[in-house]
């Protein structure tokens, strides 16, 4: 770095670890009058770093200075008082408030507890004008604004207070083309006015267009820090990807495939492969756009993408949890299924193992047995109505047996189990239901390393037994160890499909970061 530019925010040697280290010795400088871009793949440590800088999280070790003065915010409030403000990716909005109230929530000007409306509206107006939002009436309800405008509103609110360092997390993710353009334009103005801006984005083209310097994080370390003028899109993508491990991609493609084929049970040899699930041109709003893919029986297909790429939304659309507006889903080579609800999907032999188990899969206060049996109660009943306890117990026990679930008994409430064991209970539910197609969302989110290996082994065993698995994950290495093929999504669309042996991490990441129509490519700097 050149010695004459003074850093407004100076971050040195940040360390933070939970079970595993998340940040290991990260340095970062944000200078007044610059836009400093921060990029990295999922889990690189960007969020942890921002949380530390904005006082939401305390680091294990760090030296931070703000304007040359030691800076160790104990709370978000304190960070904001010192002028460090974060606009999160999805700024929470209370839709029943007025624009002005939302902007000044928590610091409403008041006289003896009564809100000083005139002063509030004046302050709000001038803050809106500063960001070119003069057309928004501060008295109108937040509900009347679109998602994009709410994002701009959050930025305007941040600028209305004391602000020396503005941190923006994916500010354009929810914006349309025009709004994004306008935002970037105003960010340039703010830069000229001397603001220090830390800009976090997956959209590399935006970074190349407006960034001054860029820092690339990978696995909690800074792997690249340079002027944007000296880098390229390919270089950034390459920096985000871990260097090739000798075992996997450097070995000739054919031999890897051969190893994989040998790992598989003999009954899924190539000539027996048949399509189990075929998705054609499926769309759901803007989250899933025109997605086509297929999964063979006995195959594990990965679904990779950055946060917000539409992985979960795609699984939910296939499953009927959210209605799709176009396209269709077929089992094998059958006719299009009209899946309008999860009941239709389950009847067609599709099961979902959702990411948020507590909210979407488990009956937390009920015993393990009830959770395993939930989707099969009707089948196990006598005369379709009457519970046959003996049959239920043996069915639940049989389904759980291969999974090695750690519980006192099947009568233990499932909420008391560890994350990994809860996951296995959900797997057992679909084993019992005998669903040939399983949609798995983030199979190892929130489980420890041992359980992770066990779950991976289990998923392979499910595929080995002829089931078709579509596994969505934000962790690329999870998918590269697990899958036969990987489908990469970016902003709702499929941007690449890769077969084991023929993929390189660089290509997969490049597909995840792929630019699309409507991106801000106006590189006028």
């Amino acid at each position: 770095m050149d010695g004459n530019a003074v850093a407004t925010l100076e971050v040195r040697d940040v360390h933070k670890a939970y079970a595993a280290p998340v940040l290991s010795g990260v340095d970062l400088d944000v200078r007044a009058g610059e836009i400093h871009a921060l990029v990295g793949a999922n889990g690189a440590g960007k969020s942890t770093l921002t949380r530390i800088v904005t006082g939401l999280l305390s680091p294990d070790r760090a030296t931070m200075r703000l304007g040359g003065v030691p800076y160790h915010p104990a709370s978000r409030r304190q960070a904001e008082d010192l002028g460090v403000r974060l606009v999160p990716q999805e700024a929470p909005a209370i839709t029943t408030l007025s624009v002005a109230e939302q902007m000044f929530l928590g610091r409403l000007p008041h006289r003896g507890g009564i809100v000083a409306r005139r002063r509030l509206h004046e302050q709000a107006s001038s803050a809106l004008v500063r960001l070119g939002l003069g057309h928004i009436d501060p008295t109108s309800p937040v509900a009347a604004l679109g998602v994009g405008q709410r994002q701009l509103l959050a930025i305007a609110a941040a600028l209305a207070g004391e602000c020396r360092v503005l941190i923006l997390d994916e500010p354009t993710a929810a914006l349309g083309h025009a709004d994004a353009e306008r935002l970037l334009h105003h960010l340039r103005d703010l830069r000229s006015a001397g603001m220090a801006i830390l800009y976090i984005s997956h959209r590399l083209d935006e970074i190349l267009a407006i960034g001054d310097r860029v820092t690339v994080l990978r696995d909690g370390r800074v792997v690249e820090a340079r002027a944007v003028a000296d880098t390229t899109r390919d270089r950034l993508v390459a920096a985000m990807v871990p260097p090739a491990v000798p075992a996997a991609p450097s070995v000739p493609a054919g031999s890897v495939a051969a190893t994989v084929a040998r790992d598989r049970p003999p009954d899924t040899s190539e000539h027996e492969r048949r399509v189990a699930l075929r998705v054609s041109r499926l769309s759901h709003g803007t989250a899933v756009r025109d997605v086509s893919l297929s999964v063979d029986a006995g195959e594990i297909v990965g679904l990779y993408g950055l946060v917000g790429a539409g992985r979960t939304e795609l699984l939910r659309a296939i499953y009927g949890a959210d209605p799709h507006d176009a396209g269709d889903v077929r089992r094998a080579d059958g006719p299009p299924l009209s899946i309008r609800s999860p009941m239709d999907a389950v009847r067609a032999g599709i099961g979902l193992i959702p990411e948020d188990r507590a909210a979407h899969a488990l009956l937390g206060s009920l015993p393990v047995r009830s959770n395993v049996l939930l989707s099969s109660l009707g089948r196990l009943a006598r005369w379709r109505w009457f519970v046959d306890t003996g049959r239920e117990t043996s069915a639940a026990t049989t389904a759980l047996a291969p999974l090695d679930v750690r519980c006192r008994s099947i009568e233990q409430p499932v909420g008391e189990l560890s994350g990994g064991n809860q996951q296995k209970v959900v797997v057992a539910r679909w084993l019992l239901r005998d669903s040939p197609v399983l949609l798995v969302d983030e199979p190892t989110r929130g489980v420890d390393v041992g359980a992770r290996a066990a779950i991976h082994a289990e998923l392979r065993a499910l595929a080995g037994a002829g089931r078709a698995l579509l596994v969505a994950s934000s962790e690329l290495d999870e998918l590269t160890t697990l899958c036969d093929r990987i489908v990469v999504m970016a902003r709702g669309r499929v941007t690449g499909t890769f077969t084991r042996g023929a993929w390189r991490d660089v290509d997969l990441q490049a597909a995840a970061f792929a630019p699309q129509d409507g991106d801000v490519l106006a590189a006028a700097r």
Binding site: A359, L377, R384
Partner: protein, 317 residues
């Protein structure tokens, strides 16, 4: 027999103890409380509240609430009485009409709540008014005297001491408890109250179950109306004011969670008995009506506090 023992051993043991203690206290303080006549009188008073509480239990376990039971009971009672007297309908037809009246109200509650995703609190609050209004319309806002026409249901059998209504109510309690614990339907009821979205994502449509539960609660409220007319030999359009609150109180005393997912029909029945014994005992002890209300309210609050405290302690252990 072991089944009944097992049912009682669960959540309900504490309630049985409370009930026994109440009877004992009133017995010691009034002298003649523990007598065949007193206990049978209490028994013959409870069928209507029992039916309402059974329906309420199922609704509450799914995570809903039914505020309309009192009005629906009055409406069914009005239809029954007017059908028997003015319209001269045969008894079976009149009984069927009263029950159907309850079922239609319940179906309305369920269909509106599920189809339009309206909280059941709101829908049944509306039905509370609608059914009360209908009760006034049907009876022309007057009490309708039916005489001895329903004695086979409401009058105690001399050789037994209790009425047919009491026997039907007891049978209903046992059948509903079996429905809850021994059928797939019952499992769905509990599962929906525990986590509705998880049930939906497991491929089970929660909507028909919820509608059926409301319809069942309506039917039971209709039958409660029949019992009410049979017991009093007349139908009053003001009948059952606040019945929904007594039923909710019984359900809560019985250990069901207002958040859904947990509850027992037998527990609610014991709750009904506790309320009834309390009322009768206080009356015999010479307590005034206002004082009875104060004490009953205090017991409800105490029961819930103690239940929650016991549950937390068990969860820690």
């Amino acid at each position: 027999m072991t089944t009944i023992a097992r049912i009682l051993r669960r959540e309900s043991t504490g309630l049985v103890v409370v009930l026994a203690a109440l009877i004992l206290v009133f017995g010691l303080s009034t002298g003649h409380f523990v007598s065949r006549v007193t206990l049978l009188t209490i028994a013959n008073q409870v069928p209507a509240l029992t039916m309402a509480a059974v329906g309420m239990t199922l609704v509450i376990i799914t995570g809903g609430i039914d505020l309309s039971v009192g009005s629906v009971m009055a409406c069914a009672a009005a239809v029954l009485a007017v059908a028997l007297t003015e319209w001269q309908w045969p008894l079976p037809v009149a009984l069927a009409a009263a029950t159907a009246c309850g079922m239609l109200s319940g179906l309305f509650n369920g269909l509106v709540a599920v189809r339009f995703s309206v909280p059941s609190f709101i829908v049944t609050l509306g039905t509370l008014e609608i059914a009360r209004g209908l009760a006034y319309l049907v009876t022309d806002s007057r009490s309708v005297f039916v005489g001895a026409r329903l004695d086979a249901i409401g009058a105690p059998w001399p050789w037994l001491g209790v009425s047919t209504a009491v026997l039907v109510a007891l049978t209903t309690v046992l059948l509903a408890q079996m429905l809850l614990t021994r059928t797939v339907f019952g499992r769905y009821v509990v599962a929906i109250g525990t986590n509705r979205e998880a049930v939906r994502l497991a491929g089970i449509d929660p909507r028909p179950v919820e509608i059926a539960v409301f319809a069942l609660a309506g039917i039971l409220a209709g039958v409660a109306g029949v019992f009410h007319v049979a017991y009093l030999e007349s139908a009053d359009p003001n009948a059952g004011l606040g019945l929904e609150l007594s039923a909710i109180a019984a359900v809560v005393i019985g250990g069901s969670s207002l958040m859904g997912g947990r509850g027992s029909v037998v527990g609610s029945f014991l709750g009904v008995l506790i309320i009834a014994v309390l009322q009768a005992g206080l009356a015999q002890a010479g307590a005034s009506e206002p004082l009875k209300r104060v004490v009953t309210g205090a017991v409800i609050v105490a029961a819930v506090v103690v239940d929650g405290w016991r549950r937390r302690r068990r969860a820690v252990a």
